[in-house]
């Protein structure tokens, strides 16, 4: 036998010091910025107390980047900017320059390379997305594909700032909703209980944890064909898919019955109103790769109505609060159903306990 090399012990440095990667002008003026404005869509202009200025160009990416993309973008950043870059929470790159005359050539170089400059102010910025079929172990749909299809259609809204306020769209490939809250969220919604492979449950799943995971206590241990397994009370089951991650033999995904649902009005900022959750507006939408046209059409319809009807500075959630849900369903021509009325715990607070009625 060959001698085994001693394994290398990790250096547990944790989160690296970000100061070493800051643009020198960021570093010099750290915590001492005075104000900002937006000279054009896709560009932010920040002025420091010291009088220093930076112009930041925001550019959309496909989030999953290989060496070609990284080198292409880094070459541009080295040639037309200062060699520093940061990413926003929505996978946009932000490239800063200290000389205003460098802004236009930088934008031109990025645009020539096929990368859209925008995503600032009242635009529809890049959609935040999850992993999907590319890498997730429980996905009901893809993520990158949904985003690509939708951003192709929303490209003009990304490079312009013509919405009432900023629009954050999110996608999620299962009901866990890793994509988070959005002005508009496109999320998987399962419509049938899990299909159980009873041959595998006993070997693969820690049964008590799976029973405990169910939000409606619909799962119980059972002997099936002489083997210890689990069974689901299908009348109680809400098809959330929570049992699937801890117990893959309880397959929740289905080619036909995994659908998409659209939610609106999520807001994380504290500006004006307190943060809000997004609310269900449409469901039963086919999970239709490669371009998901049905979901896309509903999103575009909602955006169109919002753009026409909302007042300046109203986020989607603020707008619906003002015009009311009856008007929202009227304007968007989406059906209002019994499924829109919440029946989960605490839901009485979502009911209208007043004589405030919209006509």
């Amino acid at each position: 036998m060959t001698e085994k090399a001693t394994p290398r012990s990790p250096i547990e440095t944790g989160c690296p010091d970000g100061m070493q990667y800051l643009h020198p002008t960021y570093l010099k003026n750290y915590g001492m910025w005075k104000y900002h404005d937006r000279p054009r869509p896709g560009v932010l202009h920040h002025v420091a107390e010291s009088g220093d200025e930076v112009w930041t160009v925001r550019v959309g990416t496909q989030r999953q980047l290989g060496p070609f993309e990284l080198n292409l973008l880094c070459d541009i950043i080295d040639k037309y900017a200062d060699g520093y870059v940061r990413f926003t929470i929505r996978s946009n790159m932000e490239i800063s320059v200290t000389d205003e005359s460098k802004v236009e050539p930088l934008i031109e170089a990025l645009t020539d390379a096929g990368y859209p400059v925008g995503g600032t102010g009242n635009s529809v910025t890049m959609i935040s997305h999850t992993q999907g079929w590319l890498h997730c172990d429980i996905p009901g749909t893809d993520a990158s594909g949904v985003v690509k299809a939708m951003m192709d259609d929303l490209h003009d809204e990304f490079i312009n700032e013509t919405m009432p306020n900023r629009v954050h769209i999110t996608t999620s490939c299962c009901q866990i909703n890793c994509g988070g809250q959005g002005d508009i969220a496109i999320n998987v919604q399962h419509t049938k209980p899990p299909k159980i492979n009873h041959d595998l449950v006993a070997n693969v799943c820690e049964r008590p944890s799976v029973v405990a995971r169910c939000p409606v206590a619909a799962i119980r241990p059972a002997m099936v064909n002489g083997k210890p397994s689990l069974e689901v009370d299908e009348k109680k089951c809400i098809c959330c898919g929570a049992c699937f991650p801890p117990c893959p033999p309880m397959q929740i995904n289905d080619s036909e019955h995994t659908k998409l649902a659209i939610w609106v009005g999520g807001k994380n900022s504290n500006a004006r109103s307190k943060p809000m959750f997004h609310k269900l507006v449409a469901a039963g939408i086919p999970n239709n790769p490669p371009r998901w046209p049905e979901a896309n059409d509903i999103v575009k319809k909602i955006l169109k109505v919002y753009k026409e009807d909302a007042l300046e500075w109203e986020r989607v959630g603020d707008w619906v609060e003002r015009i009311g849900w009856p008007r929202f369903f009227e304007l968007t021509e989406l059906p209002f159903t019994k499924f829109h009325i919440d029946n989960w715990r605490g839901s009485r607070y979502t009911l209208n306990a007043s004589a405030h009625v919209r006509f």
């Binding site: 970000g18 900002h36 980047l65 070609f68 870059v85 999907g132 079929w133 996905p139 995994t258 371009r291």
Partner: protein, 437 residues
């Protein structure tokens, strides 16, 4: 627009080298559905995957499996156990489930396709040199594909075999990068651009972020907590990190003195945008009616009733700005649906200064206290928001030694079903705290 011909096709997001330059040995699978995602103006991840497949067989087969998912509308990855020496987490193992009739993988070259989660610096700042260095290391050991960034906030190096995860980690760990969290552990944190480039920041995000996360590095690398625990830091209540909804422990910069008003700039703004604009979009949008536009086009602010929502400051960036007496608010317990339904974080610390070393130590000790309490009292797979929901906010506060404060609630209880034997002592506590002031 993509309809126009690129000026320099070889330096364009749509570029695919000619087949004569293909280095991978496996022929491409037919991918008619994915091919449809190569047109349109947005940069295509499919073209990106194909470029990688020109160089490595793993990505040839990855494209095959992804196309298969598009056809059948199903996913085909399963988890497993992969780690680097010394750590228990930080890697998302993926093994293909797509087997042919002989039980062999249909796409063998990508049958192991693991992701390494690596912690970015707070605010996701990089030099181009560092991006290239990371990309070069990943090309050596992995698929070449990197996601900037995942929803938890990690740099995700997607696509490696089990053996190569260790080699890649060893290489980047030597030049300063460490794995993030995966599983029931303290997770990688996220911070906004903050003080580095934003005048609205009221906090030192870089310092808070590293202080909190790096203090729990053992809890990150060796998952042994009830479930995940996320820290997020936003420099102001615009909360660009979505921390109230997404973090177990949200640190949000704020201020407690008066906001700053440059009356000259207010007048200039009114002049430029009109009185109507200022009344409709600033004054009447204030959630607590704390703003008043005076007859001489100056602005009066009722600072005692301002709730620091940021709206007016967002609109009038030059005229209005946060005050000087800065600090942070801390909210705990935000999470999405699973399993009790959505929770926003709740105010636990309405305001604390973060100036001196002692202030920062206090923040660190509070985080330790909270995680210890939660680790001891939570059920398996229970986020801290769910623990608070289950035991009640007061039990939680008593458990971690934090006094009640009316900023923690929207309104006091409406139900009379409560036992209040110790009312007098509790009222005394409040009066003493007020007197100590």
């Amino acid at each position: 627009m993509a309809d126009q011909k690129p000026k320099n096709p070889e330096k364009h997001s749509t570029y695919l080298p000619p087949m004569s330059e293909k280095k991978s040995s496996k022929p491409f699978h037919d991918t008619p559905m994915l091919d449809e995602l190569e047109s349109g103006p947005w940069p295509s991840f499919v073209t990106g995957l194909k470029r990688l497949a020109m160089d490595n067989d793993m990505m040839v087969d990855l494209l095959g499996q992804l196309e298969h998912s598009y056809k059948t509308r199903l996913g085909y990855w399963k988890g497993g156990t992969v780690s680097v020496f010394g750590y228990g987490g930080g890697i998302i193992p993926r093994f293909t489930e797509l087997m042919d009739t002989d039980g062999k993988p249909m796409f063998p070259e990508s049958k192991e396709f693991h992701t390494l989660r690596v912690q970015p610096p707070a605010g996701n700042h990089y030099t181009t040199d560092m991006l290239r260095q990371l990309s070069n290391s990943w090309n050596k050991y992995g698929s070449g594909l990197i996601a900037f960034h995942g929803q938890t906030g990690n740099i995700m190096f997607i696509g490696s075999t089990t053996d190569n995860t260790q080699h890649f980690f060893d290489e980047i760990n030597e030049y300063g990068w460490d794995l993030g969290g995966a599983g029931p552990c303290v997770r990688t944190a996220m911070s906004c651009v903050g003080a580095a480039r934003c005048e609205q920041s009221c906090a030192n995000e870089q310092k808070i972020h590293r202080l909190l996360v790096n203090n729990f590095i053992d809890d990150m690398h060796r998952p042994a907590l009830p479930y995940k625990f996320k820290f997020k830091v936003s420099g102001c209540p615009n909360d660009c990190m979505n921390s109230i909804q997404r973090a177990d422990f949200a640190v949000i910069g704020t201020w407690r003195d008066d906001m700053k008003v440059d009356q000259g700039e207010v007048k200039a703004f009114v002049e430029r945008k009109s009185r109507k604009y200022v009344i409709d979009n600033v004054v009447s949008r204030c959630p607590t009616n704390a703003l008043s536009l005076n007859d001489d086009d100056t602005m009066t602010v009722d600072n005692r009733n301002c709730v620091r929502c940021m709206h007016c400051i967002n609109v009038m960036t030059k005229a209005l700005s946060p005050g000087d007496d800065k600090g942070v608010s801390i909210l705990m317990g935000g999470k999405r649906t699973l399993k009790i339904g959505d929770t926003m974080g709740t105010v636990i610390v309405p305001f604390m200064k973060l100036e001196t070393d002692e202030d920062y130590e206090q923040l660190q000790e509070m985080a330790e206290e909270v995680i210890d309490f939660w680790a001891e009292n939570a059920l398996e797979h229970e986020r801290i928001g769910e623990t608070i929901e289950r035991i009640g906010l007061v039990n939680f506060l008593e458990g971690v030694g934090i006094e009640v404060d009316p900023n923690m609630i929207n309104y006091p209880r409406t139900s009379s079903y409560v036992r209040m034997d110790t009312w007098d002592e509790e009222a005394d506590k409040w009066n003493q705290r007020k007197a100590a002031g």
